[in-house]
């Protein structure tokens, strides 16, 4: 039996890598929001779900391929995120942690149940013309949607990294993350930067949603399925680190995959929680996080 598992290991690792890139994209938004604004966003899953529904309707009604829909969904998500933060969370919470928690919690309840009322609870899947085409690696078939999602995730991570390191906006964001008051003194409009960061985080979710739809399904509650994993990756990779989110995504993806092979798909999930706990105990700032 063990030899069976061994023979599947190379395929398992590659599977983990491919799915890990998608995890990374979901985590990307979270690491920015958590790393810069230091808030835990309970509505992260609900916003991912909305992005997936957006992609779904664009496909069903206008016949737009989800990968093309990224160009539509991402900017809309950005605007949505910016607005929610600037005139919602930012204004109402008074900056207190527990209030932000509750506001994002209320938001997630509203979003999930709005989806239930308007879209019904029925699960929706889509099939693309090339959903079942695949690259034949011999020991594994890599379906086109998976490969496209993988590449797109890498591209988006790269773009985001460039934004954060090379542009003025990126510098402002990093400044605000490191030293809120100092940044304000230098003349940076901190609330505006926060809102932009939140918007970028939600935009990442928009992209992730488009890429998830062809390889998963959507109903009002699917967003939450990916959120715990996203949190693990954010902590693993280091709050605010884009490279960390990508690497963390790969590590978690492989752990889940190999864990499932060795321990069975039910118990295999334990790997994710264990990594989460161990990282928090031994290096809470994560792989690429700076020392506290």
């Amino acid at each position: 039996m063990f030899s069976d598992v061994l023979s599947l290991l190379p395929a398992g690792i590659i599977n983990g890598l491919m799915f890990g890139a998608i995890y990374a994209l979901v985590a990307l938004g979270l690491t920015l929001i958590y790393g810069v604004l230091h808030i835990i966003n309970f509505a992260h899953g609900a916003m991912l779900m909305l992005a997936m529904y957006m992609a779904y309707f664009l496909f069903k009604i206008l016949n737009i391929d989800p990968y093309v829909a990224i160009l539509i969904v991402t900017p809309i998500s950005f605007v949505f995120g910016y607005t929610i933060y600037r005139w919602g969370i930012g204004k109402l919470s008074g900056g207190r942690d527990q209030n932000i928690l509750l506001i994002t919690l209320g938001l997630s309840i509203i979003l999930e149940n709005s989806a239930l009322v308007f879209f019904t609870g029925d699960q929706q899947t889509i099939s693309l013309p090339y959903s079942y085409e695949a690259f034949d690696l011999g020991f594994l078939y890599l379906s086109y949607p998976k490969v496209i999602s993988f590449v797109a995730s890498l591209v988006i991570c790269l773009l985001l990294w460039m934004l954060m390191t090379l542009t003025d906006l990126g510098k402002a964001i990093r400044a605000v993350a490191k030293q809120r008051e100092g940044a304000r003194l230098v003349g940076i409009d901190v609330e505006h930067v926060f809102a932009i960061t939140f918007g970028i985080g939600v935009a990442c979710l928009g992209a992730a949603g488009c890429m998830l739809l062809p390889i998963f399904y959507v109903d009002p509650y699917t967003g939450n399925i990916f959120v715990i994993v996203a949190f693990t990756i954010v902590v693993l990779g280091g709050m605010g680190s884009i490279v960390g989110a990508l690497l963390g995504g790969f590590i978690i993806g492989i752990t889940e995959s190999v864990g499932g092979l060795i321990l069975g798909e039910s118990l295999g999930q334990v790997g994710i929680s264990l990594i989460f706990i161990l990282i928090l105990i031994f290096k809470p700032t994560g792989i690429f996080g700076s020392k506290v």
Partner: protein, 322 residues
């Protein structure tokens, strides 16, 4: 809380009303609702000890509930131990789990959202394990037989469970009151206000925080036994549900963190809002949308929770008197 004569009389009045309620309320359903309200207030109070008073927010509070439920249920189904004894084992296991999680987390210096997240991770870990292990019944869960009797902590009428939950509630209120008057309570509040300063003042912050989470754990454990004996079925999604972790912090924050009656007020308020919304709105989901908006409104205008309302009233009175 200061215990003036007026306060004591009010407390006794409230207690009397609660004890006599089943005689005045003929509706079993309403008794059931009150039982659930008390239960949620109780488990919210356990979160309050660590989160409200000691300032350490946790997202994994359900792990004590689930572990307690499994402890007494396994003792019952596999070893025939009656739940009236099993509940103490549940309390012990809850506190013990608190010790382990507290030691591992606090010893590593985890604070704030890091601590909250590690509690979430522990709860998830336990859920996955419970799903895979034989003696918890795995994914199938544990079925308990219906056998009313005090030794089984099972009652054939809602009144019995009402008093059970009332006793738990009163104990939780007493714990909070004791906390507010005790040195230990002052210490954990000091930790909440400024942990480094507290440490500098000579408070053993590690020990205090661990004691606080052990109290939370013990309380959670008893809650688990209550649930198991009332609904006679647990499985990993019920025993380790994130929804319960969220509910216990929700009622406390909405009611007022770090106060004796915060969780109770929050629990009453949220249950009533939920029931009323559902009663008037038939379309599934719409009442929850309303609920979500109310949540946001409450916390925007009353950042200290509903307790803040009473404070404002009294402040006005004080201002007027001055």
């Amino acid at each position: 809380m200061t215990f003036s004569l007026k306060t004591i009389l009010l407390i006794l009045l409230g207690l009397l009303i609660a004890i006599l309620a089943p005689f005045g309320i003929s509706s079993k359903f309403q008794l059931d609702v009150l039982t659930l309200i008390f239960f949620t207030a109780y488990i919210g109070q356990s979160w309050n000890i660590l989160g409200g008073y000691a300032g350490q927010f946790s997202f994994g509070g359900v792990m004590f509930f689930g572990t307690g439920a499994y402890t007494s249920s396994i003792l019952l189904t596999s070893f025939g131990v009656p739940p009236i004894i099993g509940i103490f084992a549940a309390i012990f296991m809850g506190a013990f789990l608190g010790l382990i999680v507290g030691y591992l987390s606090f010893r590593s210096g985890l604070r704030g959202s890091y601590f909250a997240l590690i509690t979430l991770a522990f709860a998830e870990l336990l859920r996955v394990l419970a799903n895979s292990v034989e003696f918890t019944g795995g994914g199938v869960g544990l079925f308990l037989t219906y056998a009313p009797g005090l030794h089984n902590l099972q009652f054939n009428s809602p009144t019995g469970f009402y008093y059970f939950s009332l006793i738990l509630l009163v104990i939780s209120l007493a714990i909070a009151m004791w906390l507010e008057r005790s040195r230990f309570g002052a210490q954990i509040v000091a930790i909440r206000e400024n942990e480094d300063a507290a440490e500098a003042l000579g408070i053993d912050t590690l020990k205090c925080k661990i004691y606080a989470i052990m109290i939370m754990g013990g309380m959670g454990g008893a809650a688990g036994t209550f649930y198991a004996q009332k609904y006679l079925y647990i499985d990993p999604p019920i025993a380790y549900s994130i929804a319960l972790s969220v509910e216990m912090l929700l009622v406390t924050i909405v009611g007022g963190m770090g106060t004796v009656f915060g969780p109770l007020i929050g629990s009453f308020f949220l249950h009533i809002v939920n029931e009323f919304a559902r009663h008037f709105i038939d379309t599934p989901g719409v009442s929850l949308i309303v609920y979500g908006f109310i949540l946001i409104l409450i916390i925007s205008f009353l950042p200290n929770g509903l307790v803040g309302l009473f404070d404002r009233v009294r402040k006005k009175k004080d201002d007027n008197d001055a």
